[in-house]
């Protein structure tokens, strides 16, 4: 036990060890990955991906969650006037233009969303990793934060160079990428980045342990899980599960923040279940309207369903990425109070980008 404590700092869970490790830490995803690799791939993907209700309740609800968080977090209208009041109309106008000129700009909007997506995952991993480190009382200097960022970004770089369809394939013509020498070096780079994505978290843990400033186990787990999603699950073509685990992780942490803030408000008369149910219901309702009703508004206006549905998905994703960059800030933000609750000697305000 003592040896364990020298390798990992004790985790300050938000809810319980099972909840934090399985959902936020991504532990559940590692079990499912092992199951998929052992041969469960085709069955589980075909069954789960064909359940629209599951997709709505998890994957789509998580996109809406950032918007719900933006408008339910106290003070955002004052602190973020453009994001709360200007961005929705700008988004709508951009989507309208994208649908109108879909045959020209459509693929670029799709590529932007697909290229940004792994970066967004990496940023979420970075934010959660630091969040648990701070809760464990571990103050990370600029170099350590850079090292954590590097470890979190390596799966993004892996996905960027690997493709297919987006990432480097958006910027460099296929005729160049498929030239034998380029294909060889690209393959080598992708392999190296895959290895780095999986090993950097281990190296970080070892480095911190040797300096007697250990990371909490859950921080390491979050980094490993994201790396496994982009390398292992991508390798067996199970992207559906990558999106699902990311969404579960997101929904869990955003609801924790919402519920804790609401419970701490003076005059609160409801329990955690009420606040969680309110938030989640709003997410599901908004997700339904965004993904299931919105595309048909463009169809009613005379556009095809293909461009309407695909570009709504892309634009909602991009909006989600943008909003996340604002709502997870800690500096001078109520988020900081939630992160530092119950944390021993939490450091001074530090940013956690999403």
């Amino acid at each position: 036990m003592r040896a364990w404590a020298t390798v990992f700092a004790p985790t300050r869970n938000f809810v319980s060890p099972a909840f934090d490790y399985l959902l936020i830490g991504g532990g559940l995803s590692l079990f499912v990955t092992a199951f998929l690799v052992a041969g469960g791939t085709k069955w589980t993907i075909s069954v789960m991906a064909s359940l629209p209700l599951w997709v709505l309740l998890v994957n789509l609800a998580h996109f809406a969650a950032s918007t719900v968080r933006l408008y339910t977090k106290r003070g955002t209208f004052t602190a973020l006037p453009f994001v709360t009041m200007g961005l929705p109309l700008v988004t709508l106008l951009c989507l309208g233009l994208a649908v109108m000129f879909a045959d020209v700009v459509g693929r670029h909007v799709m590529n932007l969303y697909l290229t940004w997506s792994p970066y967004h995952y990496a940023a979420q991993t970075y934010g959660l990793t630091l969040m648990y480190s701070y809760r464990a009382g571990l103050e990370l200097g600029a170099f350590d934060r850079g090292a954590v960022r590097g470890a979190c970004l390596s799966p993004f770089l892996y996905a960027f160079f690997k493709g297919p369809a987006a990432g480097i394939e958006w910027f460099v013509p296929a005729s160049v990428l498929q030239a034998p020498s380029v294909a060889f070096w690209r393959g080598a780079l992708v392999t190296m980045l895959g290895v780095l994505a999986l090993t950097l978290p281990v190296i970080l843990v070892a480095r911190h342990a040797m300096r007697r400033r250990p990371l909490p186990l859950i921080s390491a787990l979050i980094m490993v899980a994201n790396a496994v999603w982009w390398t292992g699950l991508q390798y067996i073509q199970s992207f559906f599960w990558v999106a699902t685990f990311h969404a579960l992780q997101y929904l869990a942490i955003v609801m924790i923040f919402h519920v804790r803030e609401r419970l701490a408000e003076p005059g609160n008369r409801h329990g955690w279940l009420y606040h969680a149910a309110f938030f989640y219901t709003a997410c599901v309702g908004l997700a339904y309207l965004l993904f299931n009703a919105w595309p048909y508004a463009f169809v009613a206006a005379g556009f095809g369903l293909v461009e309407s549905a695909l570009l709504v998905i892309a634009v909602v994703n991009i909006h989600h990425f943008l909003v996340d960059a604002y709502i997870w800030r800690l500096r001078k933000d109520p988020n900081y109070k939630v992160v530092s609750q119950e944390a021993p000697a939490a450091p001074a305000a530090l940013p956690i980008p999403a």
């Binding site: 453009f82 009041m85 394939e169 498929q178 009703a293 919105w294 009613a300 293909v306």
Partner: protein
């Protein structure tokens, strides 16, 4: 004369602007959601289902016999997601069913965008171009295929067909011979080389190849061509 009075403009109130933008946005989103739901409700008598498939409308168009509508949807799919070859394939299938002669060429042009150095794709595109009578384009793509895969017998045969179509018999015979060195038991190649010699006016060289073609594949048209070549009747 009175001095003009300088009236200082009121500084813009960003809060008011933001509030206006927000209200306009809120109204626009509400309108979109109501119109979208209402559209589905009016057409299908139920609210939008939980899963929206991008090609759902294309499938409905096909079922209703609206081929042009389906073509439009699949074509947009290939534009927005150019890497989706399955849609390009389906689009070509639908266009071919309505007699669109460009369908095959467009399908392989899309495939070339995705796999620009795949010899099978290049060869297929070149044959499709040849089928449309575009000899220069076909030759260019066959040559590109041979750059990637110099031993591709199909591409050599394609080059030979282009030469044959241009009445460049000597070059056609040479290219067919190259293809035959790579696949000596290809009956069709022997047949086409034999035909080339006939057009070139060298029936004595044609007959052995036409005989070999019949020996390897005794299909009626090969036999017929052999008989006509022997009788000196074979014309283009």
């Amino acid at each position: 004369m009175t001095e003009p009075t300088l009236v200082s403009a009121r500084p813009p109130n960003p809060q008011r602007l933001y509030r206006t933008l927000f209200l306009v946005g809120l109204a626009a989103y509400t309108l979109c959601f109501v119109v979208g739901s209402g559209y589905v409700l009016a057409r299908r008598r139920h609210l939008p289902s939980l899963g929206v498939a991008a090609l759902e409308q294309a499938t409905e168009f096909l079922a209703a016999g609206n081929v042009q509508g389906a073509v439009r949807e699949y074509r947009m799919m290939t534009r927005v997601v150019p890497s989706d070859y399955e849609s390009a394939r389906k689009l070509a299938e639908i266009r071919t069913s309505i007699g669109d002669p460009e369908a095959e060429v467009d399908k392989y042009l899309q495939a070339r965008q995705i796999w620009p150095r795949d010899p099978n794709v290049l060869r297929s595109l070149a044959w499709a171009q040849l089928g449309r009578g575009r000899l220069d384009e076909a030759m260019s793509v066959f040559r590109a295929a041979l750059e990637v895969a110099p031993d591709d017998a199909g591409a050599h045969a394609g080059v030979a067909e282009v030469f044959l179509a241009q009445d460049r018999h000597a070059e056609a015979a040479e290219a067919f011979s190259t293809a035959l060195r790579l696949t000596p038991d290809d009956a069709a190649l022997h047949h086409r080389l034999g035909i080339t010699y006939v057009y070139w006016g060298r029936p004595s060289e044609a007959v052995p190849h036409l005989e070999t073609a019949v020996r390897l594949d005794p299909r009626p048209e090969f036999r017929s061509d052999l008989d006509r070549a022997r009788a000196g009747e074979l014309l283009r």
